[in-house]
Amino acid sequence: DGDPESFRELLAGDGRVEPRDEMPEAYRKTLIRQIAQHAHSEIIGMQPEGNWISRAPSLRRKAILMAKVQDEAGHGLYLYAAAETLGVDRADLLDQLHSGRQKYSSIFNYPTLTWADVGAIGWLVDGAAIVNQVPLCRCSYGPYARAMIRVCKEESFHQRQGFEILHTLSHGTSAQKAMAQDAVDRYWWPSLMMFGPPDDDSPNSAQSMAWGIKRFSNDDLRQRFVDMTVPQAEALGLSLPDPEIRWNDERGHYDFGTVDFTELFEVIKGNGPCNEQRMSHRVRAHEDGAWVRDAANAYADKQAARAARTEVVA
């Protein structure tokens, strides 16, 4: 194809593409879309867990949860910064989120109904995110890869915290154990959907793999997540809501049931339980903050003008 020679050499040698390197426009656009969607997911992802900050059942858990949701805001910042190295700016990306032209991960369109959901999100959703993201630490685009390294470190911390919440619940009162099981029952299948559609229904994967943005197929990553999670569920003393899960000695993997992707497509289309709520919460926060951002800009302009005046006088 017509990709720049330098770009092809970098990819061939498993090197990193940096912002000033030449790169194909399609590569740049794909990255912007993917990084933006990832960033948007972090900030929309603040909502379902943020929903429990005021109600966390102990002060220690409240502190851990506040810190976790704060980390998600931080991840959003790293990722928007990585996207900005590709020549877009955060305000435009946010506009695209708010107008629905760019997406965020559908998993955040499910509600957190109980405290155990905070645990399930940490364990399953962050767990799935890590499986998705660890390969991105070796992504061909340098700023994205470096952002992912920081993100993954914190995510694995969050995943352990989620596991710990569920462990405490499943070893607590019977009501607590039931709460934990219920959360896992509700979050299991949506977590499997986080890896995207099956490989034979994933049109853009091949190009992303050729570009070194994607390293493994959706189904491979999904299998890796299942293999990692099934023993953890046993350690928790909780069941997974799939009677077909069993170890397959021949494959060296766990078999599992068929994911019903029609639900995922409904949620992506906007028909999940919380799509409207998540977007309107986000847009309201943005609109309510407009006067503050305007003021900060106006103040910066005034300060710059004052500094210029001082220089002229001096």
């Binding site: 900050i53 926060a285 503050v292 305007d294 106006a298 103040y299």
Partner: protein, 247 residues
């Protein structure tokens, strides 16, 4: 003994309730950096609250820990001031409130570093650094909003006017003996330093120092605003729903 318990509880509840309200902003801030910053401030306050509540429990000596005190006290037993307990509404209000509260906390903890009570002195030593950042952060925004746009100036002035009546309660009296013993700081002694610092920020922000009414207050005696009960319902509902549980 009871006086010390009450005193520590007052400081603890100020921090706890402020943290609870600060948490509301996470996912609602005007920009992402601010979600991070307000979470940080809330976390600092929550940390102060936890240490102080644990200390209050040990003073009481009946085996109550931080969670017993946070989740299983009724409204009339909470000792925080009115300034921190009202719902969050607008970012300007949040920054006005934080400026007043953190400046007061800053002077208080700077003085409490010299408390004859080693635990309080230790808490103060840590808190004084955290709170310095809170003051800076609030001042940063009060100046930008005050000296920003026409709209932001008006909103910031209105926010300041709305919060100002709640400042005076922070200077209310504490137990004389605790002050005499050098355990506690007489809040009245902090007034002029607090006002001087706040007024300097307001001057830079081109804002007018409000005059006029003082809210009745009474938080130190467990007399709160009607918003407090709803705050506690949210804070405590889950813990109270599972009284036997650990989390």
């Amino acid at each position: 003994m009871t006086a010390l318990f009450d005193y520590v509880l007052g400081l603890a509840d100020d921090a706890l309730v402020s943290a609870q309200r600060m948490g509301w902003w996470i996912s609602r801030a005007p920009q992402l950096e601010e979600d991070v910053a307000l979470a940080n401030i809330g976390l600092d306050q929550l940390g102060q609250a936890r240490t102080l509540l644990a200390y209050a429990g040990s003073i009481e000596g009946q085996g109550r820990g931080e969670d017993d005190l946070a989740y299983f006290r009724d409204e009339r037993e909470f000792r925080n001031v009115w300034l921190v307990e009202r719902a969050q509404t607008d970012f300007g209000v949040a920054m006005a409130r934080l400026l007043l509260f953190a400046t007061w906390q800053s002077e208080l903890y700077a003085a409490l570093v010299h408390s004859t009570d080693p635990t309080l002195s230790g808490v103060a030593g840590k808190a004084v650094k955290e709170v310095a950042y809170h003051v800076d952060h609030a001042a940063h925004w009060v100046v930008r909003l005050g000296d920003g746009t026409e709209e932001s100036h008006q909103r910031m002035q209105a926010a300041l006017d709305a919060e100002w009546p709640f400042l005076e309660e922070l200077f209310g009296p504490v137990d004389d003996q605790l002050v005499a013993d050098g355990v506690a700081v007489d809040p009245a002694r902090l007034r002029s330093a607090v006002l001087t610092r706040i007024e300097a920020v307001l001057a830079e922000a081109t804002l007018t120092v409000p005059q006029g009414r003082t809210a009745v207050g009474g938080g130190r005696d467990g007399r709160h605003t009607e918003e407090m009960g709803f705050l506690l319902a949210e804070l405590q509902h889950l813990a109270r729903s599972h009284p036997e549980a650990t989390w």
